[in-house]
Symmetry: D2
Subunit: 114 residues, 4 copies
Amino acid sequence: LSSDIDRLQDAVRAFAEARDWEQFHTPKNLAMALAAEAGELLEIFQWLTPEESRLEASESAFESARSEIADVLIYALRLTDVLQIDLVEAIEAKMQMNASRYPVQLAKGNAAKR
Amino acid sequence: LSSDIDRLQDAVRAFAEARDWEQFHTPKNLAMALAAEAGELLEIFQWLTPEESRLEASESAFESARSEIADVLIYALRLTDVLQIDLVEAIEAKMQMNASRYPVQLAKGNAAKR
Amino acid sequence: LSSDIDRLQDAVRAFAEARDWEQFHTPKNLAMALAAEAGELLEIFQWLTPEESRLEASESAFESARSEIADVLIYALRLTDVLQIDLVEAIEAKMQMNASRYPVQLAKGNAAKR
Amino acid sequence: LSSDIDRLQDAVRAFAEARDWEQFHTPKNLAMALAAEAGELLEIFQWLTPEESRLEASESAFESARSEIADVLIYALRLTDVLQIDLVEAIEAKMQMNASRYPVQLAKGNAAKR
């Protein structure tokens, strides 16, 4: 029984292979593509107030955000596949590191980087 | 039976709530944080050749890439949670759009944006 | 009589040449480095309110912002040098395009992208 | 006698003021806009080989790069104006720091971050 993530990663890989795009999909290029999509996501929010950024007043901005986040995730799925990184394990490992870096007592109400 | 993604999203939400970080986690701020992590990912690859970017020769660069990709994904999980976007549906919808935008015959061996 | 910009661009080029860094300074790599520095700039501001982002209350955040903006500009100077783009002309051409794209009457008080 | 940079900065400020855009131009928002433009710059280069990234074979990619770099610089001019950072001094200070961080003997032919 494969997970959602495995299934999506398989679909993204098949999409690239069908188009002979493995030649473009070096980790370097995929990192660039991911960051470029993150830039498009920023553009949606750049002039909005914190409250407006909830996108409750704009269906079209919401759809754009959904689409750009999907692009970021698609490249993240592809990049972790090419680098043979287990995405779930990577997230879990980072969450554990964050838990020790930001203990509740010290980090409560305070987002300062440690 | 919840999926990996639901489980991770719950963990990321609980982490923020335990630290009273909801106040910082507007969609605007989360988009910035995601893009900042994408920038850290770029930094790992910026001077590498396409071949070197496979990170087969550097355990420490590989670990850094794994960690930065995890950061991107953690913010993506949090952002989609705050915006109430179904991440799996968003990816599937975008994959379908990509399939019609990049038909195999036209896109074969050619990564030009359409 | 050379301008500030020419002088700075010469200094950035000399710095790279003295270190045999021309081999790393392809336009692709410089665009990545510029974007990575833009990501570090984002990180300074990501959790701040609009008002806090003026950095009037934090000398160290101000110094960090100054340093990251300088990094962005140094890579922009190097990238335009390598691509043989006249930076002043490029800015002036874009300002003219923006003036016709955002006529005062339509754009007044409204930052919507056109 | 004002320099190129002062003159461009004045023009960018006047452009914003004429459109009542000061309200949008918090440092936070300008940092986002700068990073979003850096993302558009990345997109031009993401699938290109190092050699292709010189853009000698594509007039239209060259024009796009020129336009996106101009956008990055326009936001950098505006951001330094709003934060009252002297851009030339900031670059000179960073170049001096880089000179001591990357001494020629250690950094020769080696772009590793220090």
